[in-house]
Assembly symmetry: C2
Homo-oligomer: 334 residues x 2
């Protein structure tokens, strides 16, 4: 089934059929009705390959998501979809593995889909530096900062990871905790992990609190099981600590379970602070205290920046949206 068939069926030319199917003007109501009817009857759909191959530009917005099982990104995508619906920009969401190159993927997809702009959910500075030059449509990096990047078509909207992390530690400190362990990611690989680590360290240092990277830090993957194992390692190392700051809620939840399994109560014996503000944190026992990123704002600002660049050629901007400390149940006074 092609527009040719539809053309034959209705007696109109493929040109007219195409115009109707794309809601273009300059078509008689009669033609429009006949063609639409035939299309509906047969369930006809335009072939996206041919369409995109031929089109010199679409009004697609592309979102490239780094990591399928990142719950924060899942939520961001949900909200993004909802907010895109009322606009007339089709949203194409493309998932790549965490260790794939998001920029190269974008280059490829830009050539194929000719989107108006692209949103990167997660990304790595080095990767952008290496290949972003090949992209010429407006882009926004979401959840990571790109302000120290030399591209004038790359905006960014991120939470202030350094500050947020600092807030998390300060909150713990202000409650009297003086021995704090940190569970995070690989700082060599992840900009986010590095920033959060530095923020935590800065807070610790400024309060003259003892912290030994080798003993008090666990750099692992952002997952339940890694958080669980990290907490176990911390415990086995024999260091005394009254609080753990985990750089992601999933790790925090894993860590809490590890503590509980070792007979420690949270928060009575050990406080645990997470990062992200995932939904699940509201249903655990204890409910997870966390530094919550604002999904709504992240999406809102990103779309705004992107649409502004697209519609009025606005300059690249780098915004930081606020985080909020959710004091729930997993943290208490020492």
């Amino acid at each position: 089934m092609t527009i040719k068939d539809l053309s034959a069926q209705t007696g109109y030319s493929v040109g007219t059929v195409s115009r109707v199917l794309n809601n273009q003007p300059n078509v008689s109501e009669k033609a429009r009705k006949a063609i639409l009817e035939a299309a509906h009857a047969t369930g006809f759909q335009l072939n996206t390959n041919a369409k995109q191959l031929k089109q010199s530009h679409s009004n697609i917005i592309l979102a490239i998501v780094k990591g399928r099982s990142n719950l924060l990104f899942s939520r961001l995508v949900e909200v993004l979809q909802a907010k895109m619906l009322p606009t007339d920009h089709p949203l194409i969401v493309d998932y790549i593995d965490e260790d794939n190159n998001e920029v190269r993927r974008a280059v490829q997809l830009c050539a194929e889909k000719k989107p108006l702009g692209v949103l990167f959910l997660g990304g790595n500075r080095e990767t952008f530096l290496a290949d972003f030059g090949k992209i010429d449509v407006p882009c926004v990096l979401v959840t990571d900062d790109a302000s120290d990047t030399p591209f004038d078509n790359l905006s960014s909207v991120s939470s202030d990871d350094f500050l947020a992390s600092r807030m998390a530690i300060e909150a713990l400190l202000s409650l009297g905790h003086r021995h704090i362990a940190v569970i995070g990611g690989d700082r060599e690989v992840s900009d986010t992990a590095r920033l959060r680590y530095n923020g935590a360290l800065a807070a610790l240092r400024s309060h003259n609190v003892d912290f030994h990277e080798d003993l008090d830090y666990e750099g692992v993957r952002f997952s339940y099981v890694d958080g669980y194992q990290a907490a176990l390692n911390l415990l086995d190392r024999g260091r005394e600590f009254t609080a753990i700051f985990a750089m992601a809620d999933v790790m925090a939840i894993g860590a809490i379970r590890a503590l509980q399994d070792r007979g420690l109560r949270v928060p009575e014996d050990v406080s645990v602070m997470g990062f992200d503000g995932l939904q699940i944190g509201e249903y655990t026992l204890p409910r997870l205290s966390t530094v919550a990123q604002s999904v709504d704002q992240l999406v809102e600002r990103s779309m705004d920046l992107l649409l502004q660049s697209i519609e009025s050629g606005a300059q690249a901007q780098h915004e930081v949206v606020g985080v909020s400390l959710k004091q729930r149940e997993s943290v208490r006074k020492q």
Copy 2:
């Protein structure tokens, strides 16, 4: 950048360039090397639109996933990707919203991608009955049963929802529970919800246990918050129950929190049994007792059936894989 440019650059014709880029035989080593080198140097990638438009068939396997935030499906996709990697079948994963029509989407994508076969992660019987006739490649419906469907190119691999649900209830009954509430989905809409409901009901009936649909059943969406609210409703209704069976782990987790918020202890005061066997269930307090679906087997059998149909034209088959009762901490003797 197109193969034409590459052709000009290397002095070979587009035909040869295409052959090289597709690892086809009948190309001299010299040509292969020169072209590959040029392609690498420029980071050239074939345009998928043009490729798929022209190709009469690919060896793509298509997976259509119904619902982005279904944690079971996320896990299935992960395992699926891992298992597909060693084969030479590119896996294309396409996500649609829960309330979209998976079959119509498949029809469209089959026309465009010409896949060898398609895997449906989740699907609705009615939907298949209505439109599946238009699909002629081998397909497997995963997690739902399609044995009462008249298509000879549609296999299915599912957990026995009826039996599994029955097992869940039996387990509760054997522990002395006689007042069991059930939290599930909309049986009008979801085959799965209906099967699980019927299984639960059968078990209850066969033990002559009192169960009033209006009072003891909550049909809601499969989410934390809905599970939470459902448990609250159950409580507010004033019925006495010593156990809750939730048809999904996420609902069970929500329900547990609701009970805890009302001062009830799980499992001391109320036992809660989930369904699915998600990872998160191993990290909650209490750890979630659940009827676990076997993600590995589901994927393994689905791929097997699909590949058999593709490679040797095997007939459609309908398999049921076993579930396992994970007795963890949220259920105990009444």
